[in-house]
């Protein structure tokens, strides 16, 4: 029998606000244990939480960017459970009235993964196990999170991967999170079940907790899919359970089953009043959103006529796009700009993170100046690449490499005389070309390039040469 995979993701994203959700402590990652703390985020008796408005704003941004509706009257709730990393024995979260609801994320295929809800909550501290002792570090306690809950619309590990990547991309675009899975600023719980093809009822689901890498999510899902089918085919039943994924063995194992599921005793947080967000604030946030990744990709392909493969290499990195678009605005041609970025600058930015950060000593102004030389035929693309490469390494302006006289000297008359020399010096190639060997003309291009140190516009040279040969 064939089985369909049914999966929904709960994604925790740490918000990039400067301070924590309920106090003024920094949210900076790391720091000596228990140094980013105060009476509020360590739950000292008598201390009270005060909601950070920025957190609400960031969460609304995330909601709007994923096409959610915003609940402009909302409240926070207490989720009660006892664990040493949770100093109040309750997490302030949202239960029955999340800030954002009913959105979606669109995959490249056009399929939409529904977003059930996005709510705000506080992160817990961290337990550190060392030489037989357990220590608690509350630095992370109170760091703001949003939990993005998807509908069970995901039907393969590949879709899960794309969904998570898309979320990552959107959150980075709108500046609410860096979504670094390795640092824990983005984490996923994967709900997964299987059902026979054609069936209408979902199977019993399991939940794989705390996945912190996209490739593990894919692997764990694939493993769990096979495991569930095996259980069913063997006549067994899937037990609803929370699982952990072992990265080393690539297997899942049970953390707890439904029987010992916790009763969180949610109730409205009495220390924080009902949050009322003016519609005008939502409008303001909506208007401040940048162009979203999918829209940008479509614009690049449809309007700027960038070839789809190149457009996909660009749109993933917002800073790269910003750079390119500034160069466009300064008059640089689209095609030469993007080709130089992808061909030359990307070779300096090896990792995803490098491209994400996009730190190079080349300004958009200098980039535009260089591209315009190519656009105008003053220099050819090869020289532009060589120059850009040097600029990216040395941080000097275009003028340090290409002198005005180099460009000014290459008037049409001079080019024609060089072309004439090329024709004269390559009689054999000319004869071959005349005989129909089109590629023979490359020998003449080479001559021109060498004679002009690459500054010649080969397109123009081609025209002149052909005129000279064919009359």
């Amino acid at each position: 029998m064939k089985y369909r995979l049914v999966s929904g993701l709960e994604t925790h994203v740490e918000l990039a606000t400067a301070t924590k959700i309920f106090c003024g402590c920094t949210t900076a990652f790391g720091g000596s244990p228990n140094t980013h703390c105060c009476p509020v985020c360590t739950g000292q008796p008598g201390a009270l939480p005060v909601l950070n408005k920025k957190v609400v704003e960031y969460a609304i941004r995330a909601g709007l960017a994923t096409h959610c509706t915003i609940n402009t009257t909302t409240h926070l709730d207490r989720k009660n459970y006892c664990y040493p990393d949770l100093p109040k024995a309750y997490q302030i979260s949202q239960f029955d009235k999340p800030l954002c609801e009913h959105g979606y994320v669109e995959l490249e295929s056009g399929k939409r993964i529904g977003i059930t809800r996005i709510h705000i909550e506080e992160d817990a501290g961290k337990l550190v196990h060392e030489s037989g002792f357990t220590y608690v570090d509350y630095n992370r306690g109170g760091v703001p999170l949003i939990e993005i809950v998807s509908e069970p619309d995901i039907s393969s590990p590949e879709e899960a991967k794309e969904y998570v990547e898309k979320l990552q991309l959107i959150m980075r675009y709108i500046g609410v999170s860096d979504c670094k899975m390795q640092e824990g600023s983005m984490r996923c719980d994967v709900n997964i079940s299987v059902m026979p093809e054609g069936a209408t009822e979902f199977g019993t689901r399991t939940e794989i907790k705390n996945m912190n890498s996209i490739s593990y999510i894919e692997k764990a899902m694939a493993y769990e899919y096979e495991r569930q089918i095996e259980v069913i085919e063997g006549g067994g039943k899937i037990v609803q359970a929370t699982l952990r994924y072992d990265e080393h063995t690539g297997e899942t194992s049970v953390m707890r089953t439904k029987e010992d599921a916790q009763d969180y005793r949610y109730f409205p947080e009495p220390d924080i009043l009902t949050v009322v967000i003016p519609e005008s604030k939502v409008e303001e946030i909506k208007n401040s959103l940048p162009e979203l990744p999918t829209d940008k990709l479509h614009r690049y392909i449809d309007e700027l006529k960038i070839n789809p493969a190149t457009a996909k290499l660009l749109y993933k990195y917002k800073r790269v796009c910003d750079f390119a678009e500034r160069a466009f605005a300064l008059g640089a041609g689209v095609k030469n700009t993007v080709n130089l970025i992808v061909g030359t600058l990307y070779s300096k930015l090896e990792t995803e993170e490098d491209k994400e950060k996009f730190v190079l000593p080349v300004s958009a102004d200098e980039m535009a100046a260089l591209v315009k030389l190519v656009d105008d035929g003053k220099i050819n693309i090869t020289l532009a690449q060589k120059t850009l490469s040097a600029m990216a390494e040395e941080g000097k302006p275009v003028s340090a490499y290409i002198k005005p006289e180099d460009i000014a000297g290459m008037d049409d008359g001079e080019l024609e005389s060089i072309c004439r020399q090329a024709v004269e010096a390559n009689a054999g190639a000319v004869a071959d070309f005349k005989a129909g060997k089109e590629k023979a003309i490359f020998a003449l291009y080479g001559f021109v390039k060498k004679a002009t140190q690459g500054k010649a516009d080969i397109k123009k040279a081609d025209e002149i040469i052909k005129k000279l040969i064919l009359g």
Binding site: Q44, G46, L51, K88, Y90, V136, D263, L273
Partner: protein, 483 residues
């Protein structure tokens, strides 16, 4: 009634006495009376002497306010930086917070002198202060009687003149009822008027800090010093600028009487209040009968909501970060269980269990959710009543001080004694309890004056009439620092 604060303040400002000398007088009287009364559970005399020195400097510099240099006390659930704050619970044994409650930092800035932390029911859960880990405080009026609770220690200290005034907290009557039992003034402001930052929570949506004093004038002075919006407490609200003006004019005042408040109230309490109301009428006030049927439901609503919130608020006491930690555990879970089993008293455990139950899945709708709905009904019915009257007069309690030990065998009866005080907390209203004669046994009776939300100054002003007309006298304890 006399304004102890005004008298002491003028003596201090005139140079008749220094704060240091006054503080030593109080310390001497505490050492004399506290072993009997058990009003204070943590003495902070070093702090008091340092505060007094700072106050004398302020006075010399001409920067004194009404409270500068005057010795007072805080209930043991108000956080004091570096000084014990234990909620009279074993589980907070040794806790010295590393921050100040907003009320204490406000008073400290004005040069108030902190004598110590006073006794209370464990985590403010109780009406007699007998659930204190440190044993019950005794009622200075009659030491065979309880002080009431939960702010029983403050009431005893103020009554016995071993603190000029004190700050208590009121979740279901914990300022007003002990004030009534000990024959002093207790004022519970509108919810949010005084910052709760640093008040160790019992029922967060009900808790409110307020003054316990020898006079209405004193209550207004202290209230003015501690009120106002606080950025550290998101539930706090702005209060009007300037001093609360007291002129005691009750001409045309509409006094509401809701029969529901008087059901089952003994005749001597009822007639004492009737007498007080009649005096107001003679001065030009008008009596209006009002009906608030939902009052009957306020008590169960209170116990559901307060316990629900408490079960969550008290979850943090696990022995990991501060306070008491049990020994002989085998795992973290075992440590937490043992710590809570040994650290909490019986009443607290009972309320945690009640609260956990009403929030549990399957029971939430039937209890907690329903209680929240009825709470709204109480609020709106009280608001409706205030469309017909300016203030409500009611007994503070349906009884005077119980004998010590009584509540142990009469738990339900003791819970029922909160019936007159809890509606105010449910609805977030301001209310004051002032003395109103005595019962057959000579124990003080309290009358409660309740106002609408944010009408705190009116409540104080209406009570002030009783003060200036000699209708209300505080219990006269023949000891302590008498002024």
């Amino acid at each position: 009634m006399k304004s102890v604060i005004s008298i002491l303040s003028s003596k201090l400002r005139s140079g008749e006495i220094t704060s240091a000398q006054l503080t030593e007088q109080y310390i001497k009287e505490i050492e004399k009376h506290n072993p009997t009364l058990n009003a204070y559970v943590h003495l902070t005399f070093d702090e008091a002497r340092a505060n007094a020195a700072a106050a004398d400097k302020l006075i010399k510099e001409g920067k004194a306010t009404a409270l500068t240099g005057i010795p007072f006390t805080l209930k043991d659930n108000i956080a004091t930086d570096g000084l014990p704050t234990t909620c009279c619970s074993k589980i907070l044994q040794g806790l010295k917070p590393y921050y100040d409650a907003t009320v204490w930092s406000k008073l400290k800035a004005q040069g108030a002198v902190l004598l110590g932390k006073t006794n209370m029911d464990e985590f403010a859960m109780g009406s007699t202060s007998e659930s204190s880990y440190f044993g019950a405080p005794l009622n200075p009026v009659d030491t065979t009687k309880v002080t009431g609770g939960s702010s029983g220690g403050v009431a005893a200290a103020v009554c016995a003149n071993i603190a000029a005034y004190g700050l208590g907290s009121d979740t279901g009557g914990s300022i007003r009822q002990p004030a009534s039992f000990c024959g002093i003034v207790g004022f519970k402001p509108t919810y949010g008027a005084v910052s709760r930052y640093g008040l160790i929570a019992y029922g967060s949506s009900l808790d409110q800090i307020g003054p316990m004093t020898q006079s209405v004038t004193d209550a207004a002075i202290v209230y003015d010093a501690i009120r106002g919006e606080d950025k550290a407490d998101g539930t706090s609200v702005p209060t009007p600028d300037g001093k609360t003006v007291l002129n005691g004019d009750v001409k045309g005042l509409k006094i509401g009487i809701a029969e529901e408040y008087f059901d089952g109230v003994p005749s001597d309490i009822k007639s004492a209040i009737d007498g007080m109301v009649a005096a107001y009428e003679r001065a030009g006030a008008q009596v209006v009968k009002v009906s608030i049927p939902a009052l009957k439901l306020a008590l169960p609503v209170y116990y559901i909501i307060a316990c629900a919130e408490a079960s969550s608020n008290l979850g943090r006491y696990d022995g990991i970060r501060y306070g008491f930690r049990a020994t002989g555990y085998t795992s973290v879970d075992d440590m937490i269980t043992k710590t809570r089993t040994e650290g909490f008293g019986k009443e607290v455990k009972k309320r945690i269990m009640l609260g956990t139950y009403v929030l549990s899945s399957g029971y939430f709708d039937a209890y907690y959710k329903k209680a929240c709905l009825i709470r709204k009904a109480v609020e709106s019915q009280m608001a409706e009543a205030f469309e017909k009257c300016d203030v409500l007069f009611a007994p503070t309690a349906p009884n005077t001080a119980f004998p010590l030990g009584y509540s142990g065998g009469n738990a339900v009866q003791t819970y029922l004694s909160d019936v007159c005080t809890v509606p105010v907390n449910i609805a977030g209203l301001p209310a004051i309890s002032i003395p109103c004669g005595t019962d057959k046994g000579g124990m003080p009776i309290g009358v409660q004056i309740i106002g609408k939300k944010f009408d705190d100054s009116r409540v104080l002003d209406v009570a002030y009439f009783a003060e200036i007309s000699g209708l209300s006298e505080t219990a006269d304890f023949k000891g302590g620092v008498r002024v």
